[in-house]
Amino acid sequence: MIDNLIISLIAIVGAPIIGGLLFGIDRRITARLQNRFGPPILQPFYDFFKLLGKESIAVNQIQMMYVLSHLFFAIAALLMLVLRQDLLMLMFIFAFSTISLIIGAMSVRSPYSKIGAQREIMQMLAYEPVLLLMVFGVYKVTGSFMIQSILDYPMPLIYSLPLVFFAFLYVLTIKLRKSPFDFSTSHHGHQELIKGLTTEFSGTQLALIELTHWYDLMILLGLIALFFAQPLWVGILIALGAYFLEMVIDNICARVTWPWMIKATWLIGVGTALVNIIGLYLRP
């Protein structure tokens, strides 16, 4: 019990620090990929604290609540991860976090954030099945939904779930809102929806959304690491490698459109994951 408490605390405090740093490195590397010098590595933290110090303005007065629930549920999902709980429920909790933001974005009357929210919903429509299928593949291999049992499983999951891993990487691009799938909101504001989902969030609210991104990143990287759970450091290295891959993909793709994304994700993501899973069934 006490162990769990300590682990949770470390996760809650440590995740955003590492996540923020990773985002800083991301921005630096992205800059380098574009032949620029790039911002300091600590830039995300500067942004975060600056945002905390801004005047709080809002379009309606309970916007903050959605942001908080966006954050809380992301933390809850992270805790489920570090406490090695049910993977499937983790996905649902994680989805709750996103839905909070969607509802928050829809509750303000800005047309851009509303359309951004609609697009985010479409993204969920695209990636949710893949995430659930991934969980299912994990179960098929380990015989349990608990993350604990993945860690206990003697062989890295990647051996049995290579295609599922690929599908997950695919979805990761959507979840991290990287190009080519950055249409609900993009980290640089040059798109038709201004900032999409986050258009009407500013100051502290935006800071908290940033913070949630950091948690999200850690959760997703954690999930990647799970595929290589034995030994853990390989998992972490691969997770970082996957993140680098995302950065590169971000920089060599144009933004596609969401109808294409849904089609492609259901075909490629769901397809490959299914092939893998059916393979598992056929395997004696």
Binding site: A58, S110, E128, F136, S144
Partner: protein, 658 residues
């Protein structure tokens, strides 16, 4: 003891019937309201007593044929014929040959079977086990609340229609009678009696849908009638076959796990027919259209049909006989059919902008999931099925009542018109949003059952894929609806809406129920559902236990292989609930700015919905939700989906025959 139970039983069935009669005879509003309230209270009491008695018993409360008044069987037989006769008469009156034909298709076998075959009625006429009690709980708690809601609603409704003569007496009669029939249906152990109550619900629903007596409601009522009569035909056919094969009509004896070699011959077909009867009643694809058509009825009717009665009869039947086909090809096909309906209905719901139709499709989807779970038929799946019956009933009842209230408030049931309803009807809106969240998100029950269903469906990849795709679709239609009703862009002067007391009471009780069933999921599961599952004598290794404020799956060795601590997540929700009033209070209008409109807001009006358009003319902004009609359009999809669903059912029967 026996006598007391008998009295309770009589009360549960006959009191509603009696109250119904009073409602019809004494056409006085005050009396009617009084009767409805008394009926409610008595039903609550009965439910409570049943639970108490069941807890004290060894698994079920049984009432033998012998202790019933003599000739009850005879009476029911005659009533049966009378009922069919009445339906046939309705068909004649409306000049619908199809209905007459379907009635005859039942009447002939019924008369033949009941009067000429010399049927042995089973000894245990009524067996009330945990499953029955769960449904009684649902029927007798949610049903009367909807009746209470109807008091306020119908007043307004009739006011709206400018009726010369009120039709409320008939309305309340049918509604309350309906509850009695449902109660009897879930308690009886006699298949042919169940058939009688089944047909009573069919008739009641027909009368209720027809209530407004305009062209469209009559058309839709007729559609509901013939579809359900089709199910009735399947039912009576199944009864005859079962009696031929098994020589008994006792549900208890039928619903046992098949011994090796028993699942051959005609018996599986009978089970398949019963399933089809269940499909029609619970509006599975391709029989979904009657339930959608039923939306024309006044909202309490929809609420009743969707939450606690009618459609639940269908899934009840399937779950009830599920042990008989667990692990067989029939079970697999039922699971596929259910999962397919789940996916199909969820997908079509995306394209709907009519709130009630969205709810209807969601109902169909959830019933599909229940049936799917019954088909999968392992320990976890059946637990999911029964839990979902409860959660869905409570939440859906609530949602329909909310939509009804909002519809009367804003004069539209279109989701697009609900933008900003938060300002006009804040309380109803918040209740509705909680209701919707309870259909979609953790830690509420419906999601937990979806989670259980997915965890249970691991043995069937196709079913799993369908569930997974379907649940992605549910996210779409719920979240856009929630977002729409919550739209508000400035500190509104909350005009707390003025709604009739009865509606307030109904909404209040139901929202409480939503929370109670979720918070109390572990005890509820342990007390009511686990024993039932034990009684099914399932042989799965994976078990479900309720502890630590949540549900946990365990493998053979008591190690958790999955689980969810509901209470932990409730803590977060609670924290958020504390945050709401804080931020409501904190937001000063000085901090509130109009939304960004590319710099062309007409003025700094906080409503911020207008911008300066071309030619210096003001224009309003508006964002409509996406309905993806290109991909998920109802007209386009329905035919295809119906064909597929029909094929699945044909396949089901075909495979069983082989």
């Amino acid at each position: 003891m026996e006598g007391y139970v008998l009295a309770l039983l009589a009360l549960a069935t006959l009191l509603p019937a009696f109250c119904a009669a009073i409602c019809y005879v004494i056409k006085n509003r005050a009396v009617r309201n009084f009767v409805v309230v008394v009926n409610t209270l008595v039903l609550f009491f009965i439910t409570w007593e049943f639970v108490r008695l069941l807890m004290g018993s060894n698994g079920s409360i049984r009432i033998n044929e012998g202790s019933l008044p003599a000739h009850l069987g005879e009476v029911i037989k005659y009533l049966d014929v009378l009922l069919l006769g009445f339906i046939g008469y309705q068909g004649l009156k409306l000049k619908k040959p199809l209905i007459v034909a379907l009635t005859l298709a039942q009447l002939v076998p019924v008369i033949f079977f009941e009067f000429f075959m010399g049927v042995h009625e089973p000894t245990a006429a009524f067996v009330i086990d945990y499953l029955s009690v769960v449904l009684i709980l649902l029927i007798s708690l949610v049903g009367p609340i909807i009746a209470i809601f109807a008091i306020g609603y119908m007043e307004e409704h009739e006011h709206h229609l400018h009726l010369a003569k009120t039709k409320q007496p008939a309305f309340f009669m049918v509604i309350i009678g309906f509850l009695g029939a449902m109660n009897a249906l879930v308690m009886t152990n006699n298949l042919s009696w169940m058939y009688f109550f089944w047909e009573v619900t069919t008739l009641c629903s027909f009368l209720l849908i027809k209530h407004d007596e305009n062209e469209i409601s009559i058309t839709n009522a007729v559609r509901a009638l013939w579809m359900n009569l089709t199910g009735g035909v399947a039912f009576i056919a199944a009864i005859i076959i079962i009696y031929q094969v098994k020589g008994t009509l006792s549900v208890e004896d039928i619903a046992v796990a098949p011994v090796a070699g028993a699942f051959t011959g005609l018996f599986p077909i009978a089970l398949g027919l019963l399933c089809i009867a269940g499909f029609t009643k619970s509006a599975q694809f391709p029989f979904q259209s009657w339930l959608l058509g039923a939306m024309v009825a006044p909202t309490p009717v929809s609420a009743l049909l969707h939450s606690s009665t009618m459609v639940k009869a269908g899934v009840y039947l399937v779950v009830r006989i599920a042990p008989a086909f667990i692990g067989t090809i029939l079970g697999d096909m039922v699971a596929i059919a259910g999962a397919f309906t789940f996916m199909a209905a969820s997908a079509v719901a995306i394209s709907q902008s009519n709130a009630k139709r969205v709810l209807a499709y969601s109902t169909i989807a959830n019933l599909g999931l229940i049936i799917c779970c019954a088909g999968i038929g392992n320990y976890v799946a059946l637990a999911a099925a029964i839990l979902l019956i409860v959660f869905h009933g409570v939440s859906k009842g609530l949602l329909f009542l909310c939509v009804g209230t909002i519809e009367q408030g804003i004069g539209s049931r279109n989701i697009e018109d609900m933008q900003g309803v938060m300002k006009i009807m804040p309380v109803t809106t918040i209740i509705m949003v909680i209701g919707m969240i309870s259909m979609l998100l953790p830690p509420f029950g419906v999601l937990i059952t979806k989670w259980l269903a997915i965890e249970a469906a691991v043995s069937m990849p196709l079913v799993l894929l369908l569930i997974v795709l379907g649940s992605a679709c549910t996210v779409v239609f719920w979240s856009k609806w929630i977002g729409t009703v919550l739209t508000m862009s400035y500190k509104p002067k909350y005009a707390i809406e003025n709604i009739p007391t009865s509606i307030k009471a109904a909404l209040g009780i139901l929202i409480l129920a939503v929370f109670v069933v979720c918070v109390g999921i572990a005890p509820m599961y342990n007390a009511l559902i686990d024993p039932q599952l034990k009684a099914f004598h399932l042989t799965d290794k994976i078990q479900l236990i309720g502890s630590q404020g949540g549900l946990w799956l365990t493998g053979g060795s008591n190690v958790a292989i999955g689980g969810f601590a509901v209470l932990a997540v409730f803590t977060i929700i609670l924290a958020l609930f504390i945050a709401i009033p804080y931020y409501l209070h904190k937001g000063k209008s000085a901090d509130l700015r109009a939304p960004y409109l590319c710099g062309e807001n007409i003025d700094s009006d906080l409503r911020g919905a207008e911008f300066m358009g071309p030619g210096e003319k003001p224009a309003g902004t508006l964002v409509r939700n996406y309905y993806l009609t290109g991909a998920f359009g109802e007209e386009k999809l329905t035919h295809v989906l119906n064909l597929i669903a029909g094929a699945i059912i044909m396949l089901m029967l075909g495979m069983v025959i082989r």
